[in-house]
Amino acid sequence: MATEVIMPKVDMVMETGTFVEWLVKEGGQVSKGDPLFVIMTDKAAIEAEAPADGILAGATAKADDVIPVTQVIGYILAPGEALPTQTAPQPAVASAPAKVEAPEPAKPVEGASESGKVRATPVARKMAEAQGLDLSKIAGRGPLGRIHKADILAFQQTQTSEPLTAPVTISAPIISTPAATTAPVAAASPVIPAPAAPSAPIQLPDARRKQVVPLSGPRKIISERMAYSAFTAPHINLSLRVDMTEAIRLRERVLEPLQAQTGQRVSYTAILARAVATVLPRHPYLNASLSDGNIILWEDIHLGIATSVEENLIVPVIREAQGRSLGQFVTALADLTERARNRRLKPTEMSGSTFTISNLGMYGIESFNAIINPPEAAILAVGKMVDTPVGQDGQVVLRPLMQITACADHRIADGATVARFLADLKSTLENPYLLI
């Protein structure tokens, strides 16, 4: 029997995927598990494997097609077998205006066992019972369609997000609230009216074009999110300069032992991340999200580290950063940035942060304002360390000063709140020995 090749769902919130390329030509022989095609999700290119042995046929997907998850995009046929006639694959959905679609009805068939009972883990069963959910309406992603806790959570999310009526420039699911521990508050994606379009169309300059790069994949997501954040969150930006003398000394002291322990060199980003994770619990309004008329104060710190990968911004996340040692930050950072550069991060590893650090010091940038990574409350923009003359005991001495800027959402936090956070962070970095 022909095996369907479908657009895979690789992320809980994924509804469509952008097709990139087939790795096997139409009519080509494949074995189960061979890389078959590449798709682009919100954040990364992902190779999908052949679901069976056989010959690829009826491959309809083309580059840049935006295709709903689970839609059939081709078939694997046994030798001599014909393509199924009835279920011709539908044309791909147009990519232009992103629109929010009602979640696809879950397929209950998979979850049912031979006896007709639904396969579900005890915790999933208990959650469904407590919330009056019908398990047979929920699709499970475990073996044999078993329903796990994650499936219940995903189902709840689809139930709470409402379709938008007015056309908007952002698609709601791009900003999903992080899965961190908090007081129970229903997660709902923010619904914000789009800014009014200019009354007269903006003319493009009369110039020769070198290239036209389609706004798609990660770039599209970044532009949507940043515009959303910039136009909805009133940013306040506060800066101060930190004397890094002791932090430099600390790094020199721990460099060798930590290298022996982790195999990695301690970066200033690791020290900063550790400092932020230490200080942030004392400033709960900066580790928060605005959602559905509530400010959610997160118990967990899921720390995003802004990383540039081939002209795209990727934010790998160190989850539950609050309890981690410096050594663990070193290991986690090395692993995440390495895999981010190789595009090997899983979608869950680059989403769900509750606070972000963006360090441009390595490019020589001394200070900058960053745009908050929604739905976070704040982002820390870190500049280069610069030897700066400062007055000390009546003398002018050189000190390595580093400017840090906290950019916060004024709807959630006020200037004094941000200032207290910065002062706390400064004093922690200037007396950094408690960070070990």
Binding site: P122, V123, A332
Partner: protein
């Protein structure tokens, strides 16, 4: 308290010596424990300190060692019997199972049998099928005998002292590969209650319940998985009977997933008991995946080094099993 790094083997020796200095009724009996200092060197130097009356070499008869120890315990002494390899306990079985374990019950509590059976267990030294077994399940199934399998020098010292002071027979398992492992141990005498599992590493994604040699392996696996973003919690029951079920159940209720690891063969092993305890507890409502076991294969331990490794769970096996369990349905 002054704490310094010593080996597991030294911790065992220190516990015995401190108890022998404290209580003249405590003595050590076994094959080659005196002049030779023990097959693994555990009792080295003890003959010189305590003399041949209290560090007693015996003929090669494990039945006689167990019988002598049981008799001495019955008469009010506190023997520590050493069996050179756990495998040879089979020869002591009648004494231990039909006499030591049952006397207190059969005589209505008129006597007690305060004895410790120390036995090196486990594979990994190329000692083949008759010198590499982990026979804890045999003894756990005998009412009247307690079974302890500590994984660190600190736990070994504190639990051996508790075992010596216990008025019941306690089987004290010492994994051969742990003997050379170092860890911080206070110089002073201290005791750790038997029924006290310990969370050796905190994590949120799944729990590995491991004891003896599987603890350091589980910790190494957890470290590797942490780099992949999988946070493993490692719980060491330390004592298998009596078992601290509360700590285990609490951890599984937190993570919702559990992998049980031991070296002895999977079929009829202690992992089955642990799985049943977890499934029957309040953790059941929080389980988000089947309870999994990773244990020794159902084969005698092979002599060949490669096959010997393959017969029991190694770090990479723990990594693979824990990773797949953590990712199931997520």
């Amino acid at each position: 308290m002054t704490t310094r790094e010593i080996t597991y083997l030294e911790a065992v020796r220190e516990a015995m010596s401190q108890e022998m200095r404290r209580d003249k009724e405590v003595f050590l009996i076994g094959e080659d424990v005196g002049t030779y200092g023990g097959a693994f060197g555990v009792s080295k130097g003890m003959l010189e300190e305590f003399g041949a009356e209290r560090v007693r070499d015996t003929p090669i008869s494990e039945a006689a060692i167990a019988g002598a120890a049981t008799g001495a315990a019955l008469m009010g002494m506190r023997p520590i019997m050493e069996i050179m390899f756990m495998d040879f306990l089979t020869i002591s079985m009648n004494q231990l199972v039909n006499a030591s374990a049952k006397m207190r019950f059969m005589f209505g509590g008129k006597c007690s049998i305060p004895m410790v059976i120390r036995a090196p267990s486990g594979s990994g030294t190329g000692a083949a099928a008759q010198h590499s077994q982990s026979l804890e399940a045999w003894f756990i199934n005998v009412p009247g005998i307690k079974v302890v399998a500590p994984s660190t020098p600190y736990d070994a010292k504190g639990m051996l002292i508790t075992a010596i002071r216990d008025n019941n027979p306690v089987l004290f398992m010492e994994h051969k590969l742990l003997y050379r492992q170092k860890g911080p141990v206070p110089e002073e005498s201290y005791s750790i209650p038997l029924q006290s599992a310990e969370v050796k590493r905190q994590g949120r994604d799944l729990t590995i319940v491991a004891y003896s040699i599987m603890v350091p392996r589980a910790l190494e696996a957890a470290e590797k998985l942490a780099a992949e973003g999988i946070e493993v919690e490692v719980v060491d029951p330390r004592s298998l009977k009596p078992l601290d079920t509360e700590t285990i159940v609490r951890s599984v209720a937190k993570t919702g997933r559990v992998l049980i690891a031991h070296e002895s063969p999977v079929t009829g092993g202690f992992g089955g008991e642990l799985a049943a305890v977890i499934a029957g507890s309040e953790a059941f409502d929080f389980l988000d995946a089947p309870i999994c076991r990773l244990a020794g294969k159902n084969v005698p331990i092979p002599y060949n080094r490669t096959l010997e490794r393959a017969a029991v769970p190694q770090v990479e096996d723990l990594v693979a099993a824990a990773r797949s369990l953590a990712q199931e349905g997520r």
